[in-house]
Symmetry: C2
Subunit: 605 residues, 2 copies
């Protein structure tokens, strides 16, 4: 027994007890003949005091202590004269009788404080030291808590956690697989799963009814910022369900997580929104609905042709035509957002915003503004539009004096997305996106297919097992490509604060629909068989109606922790080059390992 | 909503309710004009009845049903006239009003019954059908339950579940790693972890105090029967602990699992036994203590030299010398077991046993028996030993009339192990190894090192971070190789019914002891640095005293389920060649995938 209590445990009612603590030396202060040591462990910090009357021996040990030394300290719990209300043990201190050094420490390469002086690279290399800091400890605590609560909730409602294999088979479509050469089956490779999709569907075929797993997945992608080659998913599937059953089940889970992990009760049903509505009003399939600032169409016509639109949201509108402003007249689409209270933006600030939307990531051609003031309206296009016209636009956009209207024009889809990005930027600037304000949302009725003009074929937006919406069946069987393009998938995403953290669908379980799907994707029977034969075969033996969802657990944790970056929520993450800087992995392997696998590198040395 | 209830839910008090069920057709029987359908889902079986007065339409649908069709059935819950007490819904049946076929099924390749007619290979290929059978469903249910209970228990006592990476760095020592070529870091490889050993120790350095994880591990070994290339571990580590703290903590976990999963309360402390004692009395480091039949030494001398023995268990004994029986006289070691009530074994049976122990797997030279009967003693060596001498041996072995003594002779360690195997075999034959009888056991004080006469060096039995026992420190620092060989490790195994399902140790946290360890293993400072530099470095920044344990979760589940084979406890296992027969993995990959990785096979095609 190295300790009787942890460093976060002792309170005023322990005063008078003899205790033994163990932990790390956070800091040492001397005041007169007395020494104060803050002793830290996972549970907290306790103040140790060495009196000016302490033995020579004790003083000698204390003299040698440095930051991050690991010590065992025995002493008497005493009430503090000056209490520290910032820490849970702040009412007491330990009058030390003996200290034993359990381990010394070199001076750590950066300070172990909430705001450390260490750079990212250095902290990654010494991850085991960085993990001692409070923000990272709290991140891993919230991750642990979320994992346990997810399991408790799903277990309670009859879900079984079933582990699926990590060494599987490489599939020809989709993102790139990591592969693993097999020594026992030379010349052959396993692949690491991008998700357990086929396995969970097989488990439904096997009758498991309600499955979940918190599971590692792998994707060999060129990493964008804040992506990891290995990531964790909360993976779920249910049988004998329709969309509403799935949404209600997981809305229940998410509400329970909010209450049990954050103490945050959400009573109302989560808002639900179609993909078409989200694109029209938020310029995004994952709207942040913590704030309004909806997109207002000033010129638009119903989409047609091969692009999915969700017709019900399409309207003919033209509030900007006939004034000989060629930018708007020649544009397919003109729309804007009304930024509340931003009329005070200077010309310089607006110029900067214009440059910002013209960057290639956003790709707008320019930015038109209308500044709505108490008495007048000022706009970059007021030489084309009389004040009355601009006023009409302002009214249409529900602008009040003091607001700033920002307008983009161009191709419909691209401009919607640009406005969506601009809206988020303005939300940030106006402080409308607070991390402790949570706005959950379901988005559904995504397009089923995506037309690729290069290969002149449809691709499945999700995967070829996603079911079309029942009401779109007629279009699905149509011979008209443009009609097929309008078929909505019975798919849904869970969006939190503008981030998609879950997605799923009802799957096809009917062989006829599946056959049609392959036909639409342009596969011959042989192709379908060679690409998906394995699961098609399983579906011949009594597949039940089923559907499911998967949540990105890393991002889920980060959002619950009030952060947007996932790296702090993973104990040992990789950097943007897919490297573990601490381990120095990946790394070359021995020639003998290569030989055993009968592999040779074709790289020039 | 496809159903109002599951097939395991309805009881007599539901009689009169209109319900909708969905599931698989288990079987159909016709009696007179009536049809009976057993409808199955994960939760149970419910009997559906189609009355002789049913509509033409309903009869027509029912006519087409086959085994494993997926249907939705609406009807009225009614009390059965002849109840079935074997199933939970056996008091009721559903008077069917309508049936909808949700999916048809081809005739499954084997019957979906507890005892199926499908062979192993066929069932592996159609795993998703095999998983519908009760024994496999129960296996996965017990696995799910165990996983949840492990987490609940450990969470309750302050353990944090922390996920460690799967894409790590290949380590030069130990078993063979699976490797993963990196596309973003060409020419370099990740390795899949054989265990999270280094990560959990780093988490202790990082101050996480109590860590666990239910985690996938990988080992590219030539597979023995019932081994899997990927397997799951309950991996745990604690800081500021000594051996007793670890054993007591996990004894608490295991007892809770017995109660919560099997309803089996174990009040007493688990027996604890030294490795030396286990070898001496059970001929095994994982004794099955559900039965006695201990090994009794008839001739032995204390071990010496380079082999670890645990001196305290060594005794000088010779009960068989001086009778000119050259087999015993020339043997280093003679010992036997007394098989209760087996005196009735015929000469033929004993001959068969003799052949059995002479097989290369056991490798005994022969088998001596002493049959103890009411009035006489009969032995294969009675021409060397007078009856009085044999009687003395029988008394020493506490044999009663009716017992059979079986004796082996030869090298000490090899003969102990052979007797251990024989003991298990006789335990099986006598029905002393019942699956629902549980005998947990801690074994400790394993040897720290193993001498390899070929390379003339010591190897670590566990890994180089396992601590020597504090009381063996003097030997550990000795210059005498034979003394060093006698150092016990502060390591322990958890054994259940003769199977090792957990193992761990207290780790070295003191730099001086670690340095000595590397010295003993014959590493230069540079070698130690190049092989283990990464963790040695971490240990310079305040490593706390720590230790841990890891349990083989697959085997844990199998033993709790009363089985010895793990394959049924894994949803999608691999066969002995490391293949997933259902997926047909591993498999060749596209040339383009090889090219992207700059890899070439050196296999001749």
């Amino acid at each position: 027994m190295y300790r009787t209590h942890t460093c976060g445990e002792l309170r005023i009612n322990n005063a008078g007890e003899n205790v033994t603590l163990a932990g790390w030396v956070q800091r040492i202060r001397k005041m007169g003949g007395m020494s104060f040591i803050d002793l830290r462990d996972r549970y907290g910090i306790t103040q140790l005091v060495i009196d000016d009357g302490a033995s020579h021996e004790l003083n000698e040990v204390a003299e040698k202590l440095g930051r991050e030394y690991v010590i065992q300290a025995k002493g008497l719990v005493a009430e503090r004269s000056s209490k520290n209300s910032k820490i849970s043990t702040g009412d007491i201190e330990i009058k030390i009788e003996a200290i034993k050094v359990l381990n010394s420490s070199q001076t750590p390469p950066f300070t172990i404080e909430d705001d450390t002086d260490g750079g990212e690279e250095l902290r990654a290399k010494y991850r085991y030291i960085d993990l001692r800091r409070n923000p990272l400890k709290k991140a891993l605590e919230i991750r642990h808590k979320l994992g346990q609560e997810v399991r408790k909730y799903l277990d309670n409602i009859g879900f079984m956690e079933i582990e699926t294999p990590v060494l599987i088979k490489s599939t020809p479509e989709g993102a790139r697989d990591f592969v693993v050469p097999s020594r026992m089956n030379l010349g052959e490779f396993y692949a690491l799963p991008q998700s357990p999709q086929t396995f969970k569907q097989l488990l439904m075929v096997a009758g498991y009814d309600r499955y979940f797993q918190i599971v590692r997945c792998f994707r060999d992608e060129d990493l964008r910022a804040d992506r990891q080659p290995e990531f964790t998913q909360i993976d779920c599937e249910m049988s004998f369900v329709e969309r509403e059953d799935v949404l209600n089940t997981f809305e229940g889970l998410i509400k329970a997580l909010f209450v049990n992990v954050l103490g945050h009760e959400i009573k109302e049903q989560f808002p639900r929104m179609s993909y078409a509505h989200a694109m029209k009003y938020y310029g995004s399939d994952k709207p942040d609905i913590r704030f309004g600032m909806k997109i207002c169409e000033l010129k638009s016509t119903p989409s047609n042709g091969i692009n999915f639109s969700g017709h019900s949201e399409d309207q003919v509108v033209d509030l900007v035509g006939g004034q000989n402003f060629v930018v708007f007249d020649s544009a397919e689409y003109v729309a804007g957002i009304c930024v509340e209270g931003a009329a005070s933006y200077t010309r310089k600030q607006i110029d900067q915003l214009t440059e910002w939307v013209k960057r290639p990531q956003i790709g707008a051609k320019g930015l038109v503004y209308i500044r709505v003031e108490e008495q007048k309206i000022k706009s970059s296009v007021d030489k084309f539009y009389p004040a009355g016209h601009l006023e009409k636009i302002a009214t249409e956009m529900e602008a009040k004096p003091g607001d700033l209207i920002l307008i983009l024009a161009g191709d419909k889809r691209k401009t919607q997305e640009a406005l969506g990005t601009l809206r988020i930027e303005m939300g940030n600037r106006l402080g409308l996106r607070k991390n402790d304000n949570f706005a959950p949302l379901w988005v559904y009725d995504f397009p089923l297919l995506e037309w690729d003009s290069e290969t002149q074929r449809f691709y499945a937006m999700h995967h070829p097992f996603t079911a079309p919406k029942p009401e779109d069946m007629e279009k699905f069987y149509s011979n008209n490509r443009d009609h097929i393009a309008q078929v909505a998938a019975n798919a849904y995403d869970f969006v939190l604060n503008g981030t998609e953290i879950g997605g799923g669908s009802i799957r096809i379980h009917d062989a006829t629909i599946q056959k049609r799907m392959f036909e639409v994707l342009g596969f011959s029977d042989q192709e379908a068989e060679s690409k998906f034969g394995f699961i098609i075969n399983a579906f011949k033996f009594g597949a039940p109606p089923h559907g499911g969802i998967a949540f990105g657990f890393d991002r889920f944790c980060a959002l619950f922790g009030g952060q947007e970056t996932i790296r702090d929520y993973i104990a040992f993450p990789k950097n943007n080059a897919g490297r573990d800087v601490m381990l120095d992995a990946p790394s070359p392997i021995d020639d003998s390992q290569m030989e055993e696998l009968f592999l040779k590198s074709t790289l020039k040395k």
